[in-house]
Amino acid sequence: MERILVGLKRVVDANVRVRVRADGSGVETDGLKMSINPFDEIALEEALRIRERGEAQEVVVVSIGGSECQQQLRTGLAMGADRAIHVDADPELDQLTIARILLALAEKENPGIVLLGKQAIDNDNNQTGQMLAALWGRPQATFASKIVLDGDTNATVTREVDAGLETVEVDLPAVITTDLRLNEPRYVKLPDIMKAKKKPLLTVAFADLGVERAPALEPVAFEPPPQRQKGVLVEDVAGLVEALKARGLLR
């Protein structure tokens, strides 16, 4: 196939613990380490492997948000993507509008696969890929742990589902979303970061895409989750058994 389109969302790094602002107006993200959404890194890695096997010619990374997300696109280019598209838009855009933007790009770029993460670890929505597939009228294979391409016409995808592993066959083009076990992303090497500076990064304004903004869900309040209290430490197994009995959990 000619190309694979990969979505990269800029999110607070998975190792950072975020806090709700004291006034409940939102989640404090100022000054926190930002990264490519881990599932998107897996999506990019998979696209690169497909290209390296000679099954795709080009890998294009896309990020939608403020100019800051060019950092994540540069990292994507350093990992090995060929070019990047930054859609300059409100970083708080809703998922349906994001899906509409990705549709506009898919119609322009004609990718054989759009590879996205199964979920962005900030809003934990898990919906953009499925929405894009619906709007595009194309197959979706979500939560992928294995992708096997059969030429440019179809793909066999193994999916991580609650019951175990499910295999589906989809015609291409299709939307595939990644799960954790699909691959282990490569590390970026210093020379690649230098090389990435010369790779093309195109910025498009949201307003120029002709995409209508969808009605969003309005966040009205944020609160910290109820905290669990630290419990007791027991000395040994006998103490554990006793504590469980005291709570009525063992007879």
């Binding site: 607070v12 998975a14 613990r17 975020v18 806090r19 989640v27 998922q95 349906l96 899906a99 670890i121 900030d122 809003n123 934990d124 898990n126 919906q127 953009t128 929405m131 597939a133 619906a134 197959p139 979706q140 979500t142 939560f143 589902v161 609650d162 019951a163 175990g164 592993l165 499910e166 295999t167 589906v168 989809v170 015609d171 299709a174 799960d179 009605p215 969003a216 869900l217 309005e218 966040p219 009205v220 309040a221 944020f222 609160e223 910290p224 989750p225 669990r228 209290q229 630290k230 419990g231 007791v232 430490l233 027991v234 197994v237 554990l240 058994v241 504590a243 469980l244 709570r247 959990l249």
Partner: protein
């Protein structure tokens, strides 16, 4: 009145317990009339089961050979067509619901409310974000249909004990053929289901191998428990993926959760927040799991677990 359509999850033979949780969530909406839709090739048995759930006014049985296996691309256009006249369409936050419901939402032109923890009004819901580090209350646009997935661990299953009418409901929409089911490989187990078990024993990276994980299985069997795992244990190949508990695995709420050799990363903890009692067995007294454990035991699992198994005999 809110007219609520709940999309049943099932395996062709039996209703998945997640559906009773969705019905409970639907019942929390103001003045609800709850219908359950069963998409299957022959959904008679499943529909009869759904009809027994308290609060359900009617079951719609949508039989079609293409519905033999749940494929989002095939189900979504049917659900979207059936959704006409409903104020809410709910599915579970299981891999089934997470796959199909956003596709329905897009066809209906709305954003999905993912992982509903509580209902605050007909269009107002609480949901977790940032691996459960924050809870946001969201308001869906007034007057538009609400498409949502229900965080099953937050809800008590609706009780059974009634018999609502079941109606055969053909849905005439063109179905795509671009997506084909090949197979599902499910590990056969006699143990309780991880998502509904009263007791769960989970093992982490510390187990070190698939063979050593036997310790966890033996303890679980003594307790009549289901078995779970951390991502690290799944990634290392000690156990299959369907055992992963956490932000990106299964979110569970057993009465008793025993974490063995699990450090307690935020992504893991988010999957067990709603557990009744958390027990941690870990050799590192500083492990974050002890911050949330109700009962902690600092020790080497390779001595503690066999001892515990013996104590339970």
């Amino acid at each position: 009145m809110n007219r609520v359509l709940v999309i049943a999850e099932h395996d062709g033979a039996a209703l998945n317990p997640s559906t009773a949780k969705c019905v409970a969530c639907a019942a929390a909406l103001p003045d609800p009339e709850i219908h359950v839709a069963v998409f299957a090739d022959n959904g008679e048995a499943v529909a009869a089961e759904a009809a027994r759930l308290q609060g359900v006014a009617r079951v719609l049985e949508v039989d079609h050979p293409a519905n033999a296996h749940p494929l989002a691309a095939v189900l979504a256009p049917q659900i979207a067509a059936l959704a006409d006249g409903y104020t809410h369409v709910l599915g579970p936050s299981t891999t089934f619901g997470k796959d199909v419901m956003p596709r329905v939402a897009a066809l209906l032109g709305v954003n999905q409310v993912s992982d509903v923890m509580s209902v605050e009004g007909s269009h107002r819901f609480k949901r977790p974000i940032y691996a459960g580090n924050a809870i946001v209350t969201v308001e869906a646009p007034a007057g538009s249909v609400v498409v949502a997935t229900v965080r099953t661990a937050s809800w008590q299953a609706a009780e059974t004990g009634q018999d609502a009418p079941v109606e055969s409901k053909p849905v005439e929409v063109p179905l795509p053929e671009h997506t084909r089911f090949v197979e599902v490989s499910a590990a056969k187990t006699d143990r309780p289901d991880l998502q509904t078990a009263r007791i769960v024993v989970s093992g982490g990276r510390a187990l070190g191998s698939a063979e050593n994980f036997d310790l966890i299985y033996r303890l679980a069997d003594k307790l009549g428990a289901a078995v779970g795992a951390s991502r690290a244990a799944v990634d290392a190949g000690y156990v299959p993926n369907d055992m992963q508990v956490g932000q990106t695995g299964k979110i569970i709420a057993p009465d008793l959760y025993i974490a063995v050799g699990i450090s307690g990363a935020i992504q893991h903890l988010t999957g067990i927040k709603d557990a009744g009692t958390i027990v941690a067995i870990n050799k590192d007294a500083e492990a974050p799991i002890f911050e949330v454990a109700d009962i902690g035991l600092v020790g080497d699992l390779f001595t503690v677990v066999p001892e515990l198994e013996k104590a339970l005999s």
